[in-house]
């Protein structure tokens, strides 16, 4: 275990060193992602200048949903920024290079992607949103929230990573997946609103199949509405590991296939 941790941090240090040479690019990406999040935040605020509550959810509650979703998602994107790169590794023949080295290829790819700093910045933005929301909801928070929220965030990050990995694995079987993946990459937005506003099929889709709702909505709902969402709320910390297991299994199968077909 220490082997892997040590190796991961060695990678991270080196990749960071490599990036420090491209400061302009880094700054631009950083600013762009802040603009992106800022835009969504403005969206939320503007909506709430026109309404008081959305299906019974107040502004601060919505902010918490959004904050949790952003934090989880970008936690995954900063530390585990791998799935969307898998396609390029295969295309450029870089997979072979990884396969002849001891560590698992997925781990190597994770290492080589380093720690994506702009995403880390967005984690901060998400955290700020969470804190702001919490201060506005101070009187409604249960004591166990302090333990639950970090769990939910970690599980959410795992969900996000796993769903992307699942989709990336498809590129081992179907060639044209890159546009599909890009389209699907926007779908996380479904988890940033109360799930009840969507038609039932969509609710099902984003709760059980692409559980983005588990990243923002359900943790918030459970935290603030307790019993009504008990089952979902307890499921939240489990969904992450479950989907991680699923995606890693699919990854194994995908590697096997790579070894059979060489492409």
């Amino acid at each position: 275990m220490t082997y892997y941790l040590d190796l991961y941090f060695t990678y991270a240090r080196l990749v960071l060193k490599a990036w420090s040479q491209y400061r302009a690019d880094f700054a631009i990406t950083f600013v762009s992602s802040i603009l992106h999040d800022g835009a969504t935040f403005i969206f939320l605020t503007v909506i709430f200048t026109n309404i008081r509550e959305l299906e019974g959810w107040s502004f601060h509650e919505m902010l918490l949903i959004w904050g949790l979703a952003v934090t989880s998602r970008n936690l995954a994107n900063s530390l585990l920024d791998v799935p969307h790169r898998i396609y390029w590794y295969i295309l450029e023949g870089d997979m072979d290079r990884l396969m002849v080295r001891p560590p698992d290829p997925l781990f190597q790819m994770t290492g080589e992607s380093g720690i994506t700093l702009p995403a880390l910045g967005r984690v901060l933005i998400g955290a700020t949103a969470i804190v702001t929301a919490l201060t506005g909801l101070a009187d409604k928070l249960p004591w166990w929230g302090a333990f639950y929220l970090p769990l939910a965030i970690i599980s959410g990050a795992l969900i996000h990573f796993s769903v992307q990995l699942l989709m990336a694995c498809l590129s081992f079987w179907f060639i044209n997946t890159i546009s599909l993946m890009q389209t699907m990459s926007w779908m996380y937005q479904f988890g940033q609103y109360p799930i009840s506003i969507f038609a039932l099929p969509l609710q099902f889709l984003f709760t059980w199949v692409l559980p983005y709702a588990m990243m923002g909505f359900y943790p918030t709902a459970f935290l603030l509405r307790g019993d009504a969402y008990l089952h979902y709320g307890l499921l939240v910390p489990l969904m992450g590991p479950i989907f991680l297991g699923l995606s890693l299994s699919l990854w194994r199968v995908a590697i096997q296939r790579y070894q059979s077909t060489g492409s």
Binding site: K17, A18, R97, V100, S260
Partner: protein, 342 residues
């Protein structure tokens, strides 16, 4: 635990690889159809390849492009699963024990770099140290030795992207060897390099093989590489192994051949040439090159050069003529073309 010195370090037995690819239909409807189609075509990239390589050998693994070289190498290194036969490398089946096998081998890809691009090679070496869990003492010793042998000290602190191809290749070699692999696969290590750089790399490879007894499998298109380095060559063509033996043997069999190269000022056909030449002796082969010149290969022991030359000059309008030794390159090309060694 002593290893028996009679067991080859690499043993490939009836190795084969057949690729099944979907016959892909074009267009949108086709894309949907492709999802459900079972219309496959089979491509035999490698067929019935068997060889044994002993520890410490330096073997050249050559063949024309698309011959199946990289497919075989991938099977040896554990990247691909064979569809037939099996391969055992130092007691392990690479596909089944990828991790253990990886620790024993080193691979240098001529076209792809394993170094991190924007930082000095030393940092990538450090990564290797962590990755292969090389003991600090051993690491330092190896690093020192490689820096000396490959003369890396001049540019150890420069980012890899600023290095010339030759400099980078030297670093790649070092990176692949830091963990004392028993077997090293070199895929086109001299490609794109200038003559001086190539020679440096070759010297290093030789030293590596001689001083450390590392088994080396070399894939290359460069004939001089082969001549300088390989005592043994394995030639692959169209998925089949067509030659496995000492380089000296090839040269002996083919080396004594000579060629007469000449141009004719009229359109004498090679056929009429062959016919008339057949009258002077055996073993004469006629070919026309793309530039219109005619090549006659012959065995001087069967037909003396002077006899052949005189016959040609006397009977045909020759504009210029030369007698050449057959070089290794042409021999190999001919082996590729003929597919079998007579």
């Amino acid at each position: 635990m002593t290893e028996s010195s009679t067991v080859p370090i690499i043993r490939a037995t009836h190795l084969g690889k057949t690729f099944r690819t979907l016959r892909r239909k074009p267009g949108f409807v086709g894309a949907i159809q492709n999802l459900f189609s079972t219309d496959y075509e089979e491509i035999k990239a490698a067929d019935n390849i068997s060889f044994d390589i002993e520890a410490g050998e330096l073997v050249g693994y050559i063949g024309p492009n698309g011959a199946g070289k990289s497919t075989t190498i991938k099977m040896l290194t554990g990247i691909l699963h064979p569809t037939a036969g099996e391969v055992v490398v130092d007691g392990l089946v690479p596909q089944r024990e990828r991790v253990r096998n990886s620790k024993k081998i080193g691979v240098v890809f001529g076209q792809r770099t394993q170094l991190i691009w924007d930082i000095p090679p030393g940092d990538s070496f450090e990564l290797m140290r962590k990755m292969y869990a090389i003991p600090q003492v051993r690491y330092k010793a190896n690093l020192q030795e490689f820096i000396e042998m490959l003369e890396l000290h001049q540019f150890m602190t420069r980012p890899v992207r600023q290095l010339s191809l030759g400099q980078r290749m030297r670093c790649e070699l070092a990176a692949a060897l830091l963990h004392d692999p028993k077997i090293v696969y070199l895929d086109e290590p001299t490609i794109g390099l200038d003559v001086v750089a190539k020679e440096r790399i070759r010297e290093f490879i030789l030293r590596l093989n001689q001083e450390r007894g590392t088994t080396i499998l070399l894939t290359t298109h460069d004939i001089t590489d082969i001549e300088r380095l390989c005592q043994r060559v394995i030639i692959i063509d169209k998925g089949h192994l067509i030659y496995d033996g000492a380089l000296a043997e090839i040269k002996r069999q083919y080396g004594r051949l000579r060629r007469v190269v000449f141009s004719v000022t009229d359109h004498t056909t090679p056929d009429s040439l062959s016919l008339s030449l057949a009258q002077i002796g055996n073993g004469l082969q006629t070919q026309t090159r793309d530039d219109g010149s005619v090549v006659v290969s012959f065995d001087p022991q069967q037909v003396p050069a002077i006899t052949l030359t005189r016959h040609i000059v006397n009977n045909y309008p020759v504009s210029d003529l030369a007698v050449e030794e057959v070089d290794l390159e042409s021999i190999i090309r001919e082996i590729y073309q003929q597919g079998i060694v007579s």
